[in-house]
């Protein structure tokens, strides 16, 4: 590079440490301490991307997290690739690879640039208006629109990095380590508060740390020197923790905040091994101090988006912090004094300033006089009306503003430049404050929204609170902090500020042009290519609410969330509509403040840790025996046990047949188990189940159905009376926690007078169900001491027993219609008892079966599964289970709802059996049921809820819900499928052994 843009003046840059990196496949050099943006600028590169809609060339605009244009793809085509990263935030390291987004084939020549020429026919709402007609064509348009839209590319392979979540509790959280944040942290920590100070940047001190101006001094020292000493002091404080590269993403109610701590992104890839990349900090602070500073406003004029146009404050930062000149021939365009600070920084290093264009007629501050003394021409009362240069600005034209600032007058003057700094004043960064629920107030004098009503124990200080001058910041920060901490003494005895800046500003949201607005391109939202013309169009088309204008024009909807231009959009709306800005309010600031990676959000919950899963005590046996698993709630349940390359169907057919022909064994440990004790336990069950419980003898079991108060079936299961005042209830696997919650609710809130205690014991017992005609023989071998005769141990009863020395409970209950015994034993003995049963059942072909076979077997018997055959719209009457609803009981949960006008309708959907005309044809679960396919529209009568091929009945069986199904026995219905109609007959839902002979059959 022939030109020298690097000045050896910055202590933040380590010039002994050269770093090479790639940008768009070309190698460049920078220094340690550079951001990608500063390193590119030092190499004379401004053009880094193309805009979203018009593919206009765009350059680096800012120096921080507010950057709208310089968003790049990091490490494209690698596992660590990341899209939409702000070049202004990326710290360079050896081997960094970055590339431009949204351009093809290259950022210098982009085919999409044609959109810029087509822009007259691409107004706001273009997509909405054009592609909505005809509606059916959307699917075809969408493919092309999606392809041409979108910025970066998402990674295609697994992220190799580690992420984690941390909880932090502190007395005081200070967000932002600028001058006011540093002061706040010091005062908080010195007053005994456990304090956390965070800043998104890699260094402390904010913009004051590189403020070496003679025009703003503290105690007669340069601001930067004074602040350095302060930072030195606080870094030694014991109860202050400081985290840099930590960006607060969200500020929720009750001072709960989320922050992302970046730990390795600034390191070369080979130094990241085994390190946590990013941490999501979940911070609960007693007090929060927001010191997030302010963001410089751009100015809105024609072609204000060319590469080489930067915020004036960014130019200052690049030269002061990084020692990088953004241009060799600069022009500054401002409406306030801060641009003169930039001018001084450039002058000090001998960098040429061609001119300063100032909106204001009157410019009188010490600093402006000083600038003028350096022979720099200041055009007072002028405005930039246009800019030139395609890939980099090379010229501007300026005109005089009229007195009211609404038009430009006189002749056009052209000025050469390769860099234009703009300053439209400052916008307080109130994003986090409003996220927390804070209410803003509009300050008319300088047209800013500032914090007004705090929803929690927090304050905003410094420029995010609308204090822009150094005097105001220091004075008001100290005053606010004393009040906030309720202390008399700040740590600062005397502070004297010298400032040569004046606070005057001439605010014009949309600068006038000599062209008609339709011919201008004045960008308000750079990233989304929304112009002032678009906003005006939205208003002409009748949009009034700022939220509607935002959505119609997409202003503020990019990855930068409109940090630069949102205020201008509001200003243009209120100016055009003739309303007051304060009345419009702002659009909602949503978290996160800057984008978070998915990795950070997910933390360690990836792969097998994605969700919690629960294993039964017999799980390892299932694994060892080739089981396939099914997720039921959080449980892993054995689904089926394929043998010799069986598919699922073959395995289930074999298991089902074995269970009915001889013996099957099921791990039922996942069933919810609730231990119920107390003198009112029987009364309690009476109230929660639909059937009667008072007369159940000790040692007996009963099936119960539980409703919601609206009469709909909620859960079911068998409950056993273990003693006079002691029951054990079983619930469905998925419903266990909710049932316990519901029972607790009634017990605590409606019936506190009942003496009943509930405990969840699901995990305490392993439950092994042995079923089939030979089940009795098998369990007799496992527990030889127990009399299993039908006389001593009939169906629906329970016995205490011992296996070896271990106590267990045996229930003779059945979900399959076969004789079956459920052994409940302390969980850690589950696997050994299971193995004992397998051993005892060897001669009887005992066959382990999974949930699929269980479902098939129960369907043959017409037993429902709550949640599969029911969906919270079915009453027990709808399920043809009238027999379980007690007529005698005065009340139970849901009783009154069973005879509401709606629940007694005859044409409700009711559970029925379905048999296919062709017995080999198995219906699809969820398929719709109709009676007439010729009628249009076809009336849907119901749907199939369960469907299987029964190896025992040698035909297809199904359950379904059908309107008025109860009265349709024997009727023909149709299941219309994609390419055929299946004829079915409505049948009794009990397909096998309706009399229940098998339960007591003697072999």
């Amino acid at each position: 590079m022939s030109i020298n843009l690097r000045f050896k003046t910055s202590k933040f840059i380590d010039e002994t440490y050269r770093v090479s990196f790639k940008f768009n496949n070309k190698t460049y050099f920078g220094f340690k301490g550079d951001t990608l943006a500063s390193a590119l600028l030092a190499n004379g590169i401004h053009l880094v991307g193309r805009s979203f809609k018009y593919h206009r060339p765009r350059g680096i605009m800012t120096s921080g997290s507010e950057e709208p244009n310089a968003i790049i793809q990091l490490h494209d085509n690698s596992s660590r690739t990341e899209p939409n990263v702000r070049a202004t935030e990326v710290e360079i390291y050896e081997g960094l690879v970055a590339s431009s987004q949204n351009c093809w084939p290259s950022v210098n020549f982009d085919v999409g640039g044609i959109n810029n020429l087509l822009s007259p026919i691409l107004p706001a709402g273009f997509y909405y208006k054009t592609f909505m007609w005809p509606a059916s064509f959307w699917e075809k348009y969408e493919y092309f629109i999606r392809k041409s839209a979108g910025l970066g590319k998402s990674p295609k392979v697994t992220d190799p990095d580690l992420y984690e979540h941390n909880y932090i509790h502190c007395d005081v959280l200070v967000i932002g380590a600028g001058i006011s944040g540093i002061m706040a942290a010091k005062i908080a920590a010195k007053n005994g508060f456990k304090t956390l100070l965070v800043d998104e940047k890699s260094y402390l001190g904010g913009s004051s740390i590189y403020d070496n101006s003679e025009f703003s001094k503290i105690n007669n020292q340069l601001t930067s020197s004074w602040l350095e000493k302060e930072i030195n002091e606080i870094s030694k404080l014991e109860n202050l923790e400081i985290k840099v590269r930590t960006s607060v993403a969200a500020f929720h109610g009750y001072n709960f905040l989320l922050a992302r701590e970046n730990l390795t992104d600034h390191l070369p890839i080979n130094q990241r091994e085994n390190k946590v990349r990013q941490r999501l900090l979940k911070i609960r602070a007693k007090k929060v101090i927001t010191a997030t500073g302010s963001i410089e406003r751009p100015l809105i004029f024609d072609n204000n988006d060319r590469p080489g146009i930067l915020l004036s404050s960014a130019i200052k930062k690049y030269i002061d912090l990084y020692g990088v000149a953004c241009g060799e021939n600069n022009v500054l365009f401002t409406n306030n004094d801060t641009a003169y600070e930039t001018a001084m920084s450039l002058i000090q290093r001998g960098i040429k300033i061609n001119a300063i264009i100032d909106n204001r007629e009157q410019v009188d501050s010490k600093i402006s006089y000083e600038v003028e003394k350096n022979n720099i021409k200041i055009y007072k009362g002028y405005s930039v009306v246009d800019t030139y240069g395609y890939r980099r600005i090379n010229k501007i034209s300026i005109m005089k503003l009229s007195k009211d600032g609404q038009t430009v007058i006189g002749d056009k003057t052209k000025l050469n430049c390769d860099c234009l700094g703009v300053s439209g004043g400052w916008t307080p960064a109130v994003h986090l404050f409003t996220q927390s629920g804070g209410k803003l107030r509009f300050r008319e004098e300088d047209q800013v929204f500032i914090p007004d009503v705090y929803p929690s124990d927090q304050i905003s200080i410094g420029s995010c609170n609308g204090d822009f001058s150094l005097e105001e910041i220091v004075k008001n920060t100290l005053f606010s902090l004393k009040k906030f901490f309720n202390i008399d003494n700040s740590e600062y005895k005397t502070i004297e500020i010298i400032s040569g800046l004046n606070q005057s500003k001439r605010n014009i949201w949309l600068l006038p042009s000599d062209k008609s607005i339709g011919k201008t391109k004045s960008f308000v939202d750079y990233q989304n290519d929304a112009t002032s013309k678009d906003i005006k169009l939205a208003l002409r088309e009748g949009f009034r609410s700022i939220e509607h204008v935002k959505r119609y024009t997409t202003t503020g909807m990019g990855t930068d969330q409109g940090k630069l231009g949102n205020m201008h959009a509001l200003g243009i709306i209120s100016e055009t509509a003739g309303t007051k800005m304060g009345e419009h309010g702002t659009t909602t600031f949503r978290p996160p403040y800057t984008p978070l990676t998915f990795g950070t959000i997910v933390g360690r919950n990836v792969g097998e840790f994605f969700d919690i899963f629960r294993r039964t005590p017999i799980h390892d046996w299932h694994v060892a025996n080739n089981a396939e698993f099914e997720n039921v709630g959080q449980w892993k349940r054995a689904w089926y046990y394929p043998k010799d390359n069986e598919n699922m169907h073959q395995a289930v057919q074999r298991e089902s047949k074995a269970a009915r022909d001889s013996a099957g064994i099921l791990d039922a440990s996942t069933l919810g188990k609730i231990d119920i004790q107390g003198t009112d336990a029987s009364e309690f069950l009476n109230r929660v189940y639909t059937n009667a419980w008072s007369k159940l003898a000790v040692g007996k079991c009963r099936y119960g159905l539980m409703l919601n108060e609206d009469g709909m079936v909620y859960d079911d299961g068998v409950t056993t009376r273990l003693g006079e005042n002691h029951y054990i209830m079983t619930t469905t696997t998925g419903g266990a926690a909710n049932v316990l919650g519901k029972l607790e609710d009634y017990l605590q809130t409606e019936w506190p007078e009942l003496d009943v205690y509930l405990s969840s014991v699901t995990d305490h017992y392993a439950t092994i169900s042995v079923c089939g005609p030979n089940s009795k023989k098998i369990v007799s071998k496992v527990i030889p001491d127990l009399d299993f005769s039908d006389e001593n141990f009939p169906h629906m009863s329970f016995k205490n027993a011992k296996i070896g020395n271990i106590k267990c409970r045996i229930m003779r209950i059945s979900f399959t219609g076969e004789q079956s015994y459920e052994i409940n034993i302390q969980a850690n003995f589950g696997k050994s008892v299971w193995e004992k049963c397998m051993e005892a059942g060897k001669d009887f072909n005992i066959t382990p079966y999974g949930t699929e076979t269980m479902h098939l077997l129960r369907a043959e018997k017409g037993f429902i599964i709550v949640g599969q055959d029911t969906d919270a719209t079915l009453t027990p009457i709808d399920l043809q289970m009238d027999w379980i609803v007690s007529k005698k009981k005065y009340d139970f949960i849901g009783k009154r709802s069973l005879y509401r006008s709606d629940t007694i309708r005859e044409d409700r959907k009711q559970l029925v059996g379905l048999l296919t005309e062709n017995p080999e044809e198995v219906l699809e679960e969820g398929a719709q049921i109709v009676s007439d396919v010729k009628k249009s529209p076809i009336e849907m009568l119901g749907h199939v809820t369960s469907s299987y091929y029964s190896p025992n009945l040698k035909k297809s069986i199904a359950l379904g819900v059908v309107k008025s199904g109860k009265n349709m026995l024997g009727q023909k219905l149709i299941i219309p499928m994609e390419n055929k109609n299946i004829n079915v007959t409505v049948a009794d839902p009990v397909f096998l052994d309706k009399e229940g002979k098998r339960l007591n059959a003697k072999l």
């Binding site: 009750y254 709960f256 609960r284 929803p455 919650g741 609710d745 605590q748 809130t749 009340d891 009154r896």
Partner: protein, 91 residues
């Protein structure tokens, strides 16, 4: 995320709790005596107001106790918490 002062355990994170809808709706003692409309009033009708609302909460991942809360739904300020069966400390 709220910090909730469970009347039994003290201040805990909201993630330990479950909201249970409007408070002080007593289940009728004799549901069978009620007309459809009266029963529907109990079963379905909830105020869901913007402003000060009386709610039921359950410390489901803690002591499992139900309690009441007075919360301003417009700004999520919790005005009071009190045990089941107690009268609201504020109107």
């Amino acid at each position: 995320m709220f910090l909730i002062n469970c009347p039994f355990c003290g201040e805990r994170e909201q993630s330990e709790f479950k909201a249970g809808g409007e408070a002080h709706i007593v289940r009728p003692k004799q549901p069978t005596e009620l007309s459809d409309d009266e029963w529907a009033e109990y079963l379905f009708m909830r105020k869901n107001i913007k402003g000060v609302q009386f709610e039921r909460w359950n410390h489901v991942h803690g002591c499992r106790k139900w309690f009441n809360m007075v919360r301003d739904t417009s700004n999520d300020q919790i005005k009071a918490v009190y045990k089941m069966g107690e009268k609201p400390p504020i109107k």
